[in-house]
Symmetry: C2
Subunit: 328 residues, 2 copies
């Protein structure tokens, strides 16, 4: 088994746990350790035979890890951790602060060029697979419009807002693509749509014993900033249904390119994801790209990269000839 790609995880929350699961589905890869800022003894992995190390001891393991997968947050973890770790490891991160992506790229590239490592940033589904589809769409159909819709997905901030309403015992909010907006796009209308027009909001609420459903609904749908300007529906359910159906982290969305070729022929490319677990899917994308990073490093590549720079075949465990035979 010594030929397996040796992967480590830096940061063990929902995403790190997803990476651990995804690695178990890929037999050419092996989880060799998890690095955490918490006390290693307090971190409990899905697998009992994988060691947990203190983040502070990272440098000692640089010869034992082929690729590091960073599972920290984009706000404060990754801007520090990615450039630091690129001194010692080939790595993949899921940096998703769009406005700072070139800044993060430059910081990573400076370090990785010097250390001779490959540092792949902003991997996942958005940024990541959705980015690729936006690129293919606008490039193949150069006259047209691109639309990104998100959902059905749980929104943390809006769920919190629902739970702050008097009379709400438990609540979640999902953002959904507007079916009406999607149909207009599919029909080739190329409408101008705001994020607001593209999405609707759906709330599932468990009421306190003495609460009035009408009052709670009204408080939610008229809430400024959060709901007032959206098409919002509120569903009342009991605690048992809530516990059974509304504790997962679903997400997904659509990238649609609507274009025209020749003498006005309508062409539509549509990419969509329906995800039972957002962190597990993001983790699965990170793991596939970790394989590609290992191969890029083997080919002598160095520096910061994005999904735009990675030949897709490198993601697969198959040889180029096998890929052509099976999938072309």
């Amino acid at each position: 088994m010594s030929n397996r790609i040796k992967v480590a995880i830096a940061g063990y929350g929902n995403l790190g746990r997803g990476v651990e699961s995804a690695l178990a589905q890929n037999k050419d890869m092996q989880l060799v350790g998890v690095f955490s800022r918490r006390n290693p003894d307090s971190v409990s992995l899905l697998s009992k035979d994988v060691p947990v190390y203190a983040m502070a001891d990272l440098e000692q393991y640089q010869d034992k890890v082929d690729v590091m997968i960073l599972c920290g947050g984009s706000k404060s973890d990754l801007p520090e951790q990615s450039p630091y770790l690129a001194q010692f490891f080939n790595l993949v991160d899921s940096f998703d602060t769009h406005a700072k992506v070139n800044e993060h790229f430059d910081a990573l590239d400076a370090v990785a060029q010097k250390s001779g490592k490959v540092a792949l940033l902003s991997v996942g589904w958005d940024p990541g697979l959705f980015s690729l589809n936006r690129m293919f769409g606008e490039t193949v159909l150069s006259e047209g419009e691109t639309y990104t819709f998100w959902g059905k997905g749980l929104s943390q901030g809006h769920s919190d807002a629902v739970r702050r309403v008097a009379g709400v015992k438990a609540g979640v909010q999902y953002t959904l693509p507007s079916e009406a907006a999607i149909e207009r796009v599919r029909a080739g209308e190329q409408p101008q749509l705001t994020t607001r027009e593209k999405h609707v909001r759906e709330c599932y609420v468990v009421l306190e014993a003495d609460a009035s459903a009408d009052t709670v609904r009204n408080s939610i749908v008229t809430m400024p900033d959060y709901f007032a300007d959206y098409d919002t529906s509120v569903h009342f359910i009991d605690q048992a249904s809530f516990d059974k159906d509304h504790t997962k982290m679903p997400h997904g969305g659509f990238v649609i390119r609507s274009g025209v070729t020749g003498a006005g022929n309508q062409q539509t490319i549509e990419y969509s994801l329906a995800l039972g677990s957002n962190p597990e899917f993001t983790a699965s994308v990170l793991v596939a790209y970790a394989r590609a990073v290992h191969k890029l490093a083997g080919l002598g590549e160095v520096g910061a990269k994005t999904v735009f720079d990675v030949p897709p075949g490198l993601l697969s465990p198959k040889t180029p000839a096998q890929l052509r035979k099976d999938l072309l």
Copy 2:
């Protein structure tokens, strides 16, 4: 305008005409000539100011063309033309005889390695964009099933069969994905489906004046090999509707990956195309990849390549930093 990528077309039918249209939508590229086996004087292009040359004179133009786009057929044209042209030009073809793809790759690679050219084969939507999506699907969701559905698309062979039925004045046949089958796949059932179970057939027929609709319908739906084993519907229309609505070349289809991650979370990736014109869309894909071939050649790459080998960002006219800023 001398910085534009100089592209030539070899073979001028529906696909070649689509490439000419697509090049006009891409301002960084320029059509510098069309090569035809017909008498050049008999070939009439959409654009009046582009020269048509005899295929036999190709070699003279090798310094005037950055990338050649081959628009011949896979059965007899491309197996000869691609390796021949790879002696002189970087090229893209749309070779789609799946069973012979590695044979074609090897033939092209031998020539291109020697000539120092880049030869990209099997570009289009299937093979091409669908191949990429099959690869991403099975790699990201390593436990799951992949489904390819084709249509709505006009089937030439089945349209011919409809037109041979006594009493049929005009007719076309479309192959459509079975909605029932797609719903089962989307629901995560991972059913085993034959090509037959995945598709239904729809015919549009103009009757001869004295023909019986019931007799014609029965002859079609019971026709062995072509229709008897499919769910087939027959619609009777008048000649004016036929001329108005059934003379385009629509096509499209779906690639769906249905997988499971973690402790049984269902994940679905769906890619679909709804194409008003099949040859114009295929041509648009060829043109985007011709840009990538030019860049690969500029980077010193040589040999045969497929879509699996091409970093996606090379398809775009944008710089890497611009791609990150606009699309990541």
